[in-house]
Each structure stands twice: as structure tokens, then as C-alpha cells.
């Protein structure tokens, strides 16, 4: 699965983004993806936990946000979130849909361990 490669790149991105702020452990990571640039949660959690072992991210919670893909039916003009697994208008069943731009795979936020 591509989640393995994404997890590897994510870890590098986290390390690159964190070093200038703190050398503390990371406890939470928030990422987001689109519907074309999609991620399978279960595979991603598994892959991230694996690459995070023995790094500053070991044991960190990974939060994955799925950004909807805005679309509009060209026939009945209904605006809805596009679902690639059921690519027709939920109202009139037309397959003629204008699909918007998809969200990229993004590292949004990282949270460091607090001082005690």
C-alpha cells in the first residue's frame, strides 16, 4: 500500500519541521488528505506506528482528517461532496458531475510533550 511510503515521507516531514522548535518527543500529529489523494486510516496508522519506532514520534497519536471534495451536478445543480465509490448525483442520479479540486496530503500540526 502507498501508506507505507506516505508514512516514511511523513516522518521525514515531522522531523524537518520539529528540529527548529524543540527536541522534545512528539505526542500528537495531525494530517489531512483529500478524496483522490486519499489515505486508508487503518493502513496509515499501522505504517506510521511502524516507522515511528525508535524516533521522536514513537507512540505519537496520529489524527487523520479527510477533506471532502466539493462537486456539483451539471443536470440538477445540486452541490454535494463527491464520493468516488458512488460517482453519481445523490438527487437525480446523473453521472455528469463537475468535480472540484482535491485537497493534498498535508502535515497540518504537531504537538510536543509538555515539560513536567
Amino acid at each position: 500500500m502507498h501508506e507505507a511510503a506516505v508514512a516514511e515521507n511523513l516522518l521525514q516531514s515531522i522531523i524537518a519541521a520539529s528540529t527548529e522548535h524543540s527536541d522534545k518527543k512528539i505526542v500528537r500529529v495531525v494530517i489531512s488528505c483529500g478524496q483522490i489523494n486519499a489515505i486508508n486510516d487503518e493502513a496509515m496508522q499501522f505504517a506510521f506506528a511502524a516507522v515511528a519506532e525508535d524516533t521522536i514520534c514513537e507512540g505519537a497519536i496520529l489524527e487523520i482528517k479527510h477533506i471532502p471534495l466539493k462537486s456539483q451536478c451539471r443536470k440538477c445543480k445540486l452541490e454535494f461532496d463527491f464520493d468516488f465509490y458512488s460517482p453519481t448525483c445523490p438527487d437525480c442520479d446523473s453521472g455528469d458531475i463537475a468535480i472540484g479540486a482535491d485537497a493534498p496530503l498535508l502535515l497540518e500540526e504537531i504537538e510536543f510533550e509538555e515539560d513536567d
Binding site: A5, N9, A17, G95, I97, E109, E114
Partner: protein
């Protein structure tokens, strides 16, 4: 402490892809990235395409496989240049590997570069290599339900090559259904029905390739 990062996770690959795309443009090279499941016929389509366009255009190939030089050797047998990338287990090519492979080809003698990606429907789709067009190959032997199962791969392609149409009479493969389903996922998709074995339908594909590469 929390910090906002908002950086693309695949930014490193994207940087290389952008550089590759710029380079292709500067060199006047037309680059396509071929993606499919294992065994859909990518290498066969390429060897036949190269032979049929021999006197018209110069095609070089970058091959991506987990292991072995087999596919690159098949290309070289046609007289064309080929460079093999062995990914050592990685399920897709990345843009940095393409940057490195480009220095292994004699680019002055080429008009088109085709990248044959590792046989895999899912992972290669996420990695932009800097190609100008993405070609998705689906063979009739794989079944006509692939649009429903791998919609993202169809959404990201520019061209769909429906290969092995010589076999449709033996299989329950509904070409009309696939074309309709694929167009729902991607309005701009161009579809060519071909057989790399009998060469049926190859003309349309060859004409598209010639025309697109001459636009450079």
C-alpha cells in the same frame, strides 16, 4: 506546545517532479508515465509502439520493476534506448529516481520518454514523476469492475488504454460499461481500445502519441 506546519507530506517528491517537468520542457521531450496492474501489457504495448513508429519518432524508455532487467532488455531488442530502475521492493517509482535515470539516457537522440511504472494500481498514482501525460493501462483480463475498485487511479489519468481487446470474446468484459464508469470519474479521460497482440486499434493510440509529442 503545538505548532502549525501545513506542509505537503510528499513535498520532496513534488520538488523533483517540478524540476523534471521543467527539464522535459526545456529539452523538448514529451514524457508519459504508464501505470497499471502487473501483466496488463505495458511492455508489449511499448515494444509494438516503438516498432510501428520507428521511422517517425524516437522513443526512450525508463523501466521500473521491483527487480530484474527483463523489461529493459525487451525494449532494447527493438533498438530503442532503455534504462532499468530496480526499486528493490518499493511499489512505485519516485521523481528523484527519474531525475537520476535521465542522466543515463542519450536525450539528444530522443523525442519521447516513456516511464513504465512498477506494476501496481494504487501506489504509483500518488507519485507525480514530472510527466506531461499519465497513461493508465487496463487489460480486459482484469475484469470490468476496476473503476469501482480503484476510482482514484482513473481520476488521475489522462489516457486510458484498454488493452487485450482480442480477448473480450472469451471474457465477460463489458467495454461499454468500463468506458461509461471511467468517464464518470474523469470527464477529460481519453480512451483507446487496443490489442498489443493483434495490433487492432493501435492506430488511434499511435496518432495521439505522435500528435501530442509534436506539440512540444
Amino acid at each position: 506546545m503545538k505548532i502549525k506546519v501545513n506542509k505537503k507530506i510528499l513535498a520532496k517528491n513534488e520538488d523533483f517532479a517540478v524540476a523534471n517537468r521543467k527539464f522535459f520542457k526545456k529539452q523538448g521531450l514529451f514524457c508519459i508515465n504508464m501505470i497499471s496492474s502487473p501483466g496488463s501489457g505495458k511492455t508489449t504495448i511499448l515494444t509494438e509502439t516503438i516498432k510501428l513508429l520507428k521511422n517517425k519518432i524516437r522513443i526512450g524508455v525508463i523501466e521500473g520493476d521491483l527487480q530484474t532487467e527483463i523489461d529493459a532488455e525487451r525494449i532494447r531488442k527493438t533498438g530503442a534506448q532503455a534504462y532499468q530502475i530496480e526499486t528493490q521492493g518499493a511499489c512505485h517509482l519516485n521523481a528523484e529516481q527519474i531525475t537520476n535515470a535521465l542522466s543515463k539516457l542519450d536525450l539528444e537522440k530522443l523525442d519521447i520518454i516513456v516511464i513504465e511504472n512498477v506494476g501496481n494500481l494504487v501506489c504509483p498514482a500518488d507519485f507525480d514523476l514530472g510527466e506531461e501525460k499519465r497513461v493508465f493501462v487496463l487489460s480486459t483480463a482484469e475484469g470490468d469492475d476496476k473503476c469501482a475498485k480503484y476510482p482514484q487511479s482513473f481520476a488521475k489519468a489522462d489516457i486510458l488504454l484498454l488493452n487485450k481487446i482480442d480477448l473480450t470474446k472469451y471474457l465477460d468484459f463489458d467495454i461499454a460499461r468500463v468506458k461509461k464508469d471511467a468517464m464518470k470519474l474523469n470527464k477529460n479521460l481519453k480512451i483507446f481500445e487496443i490489442s498489443a497482440k493483434t495490433l487492432e486499434g493501435m492506430d488511434n493510440w499511435l496518432n495521439w502519441l505522435l500528435k501530442s509529442s509534436k506539440k512540444k
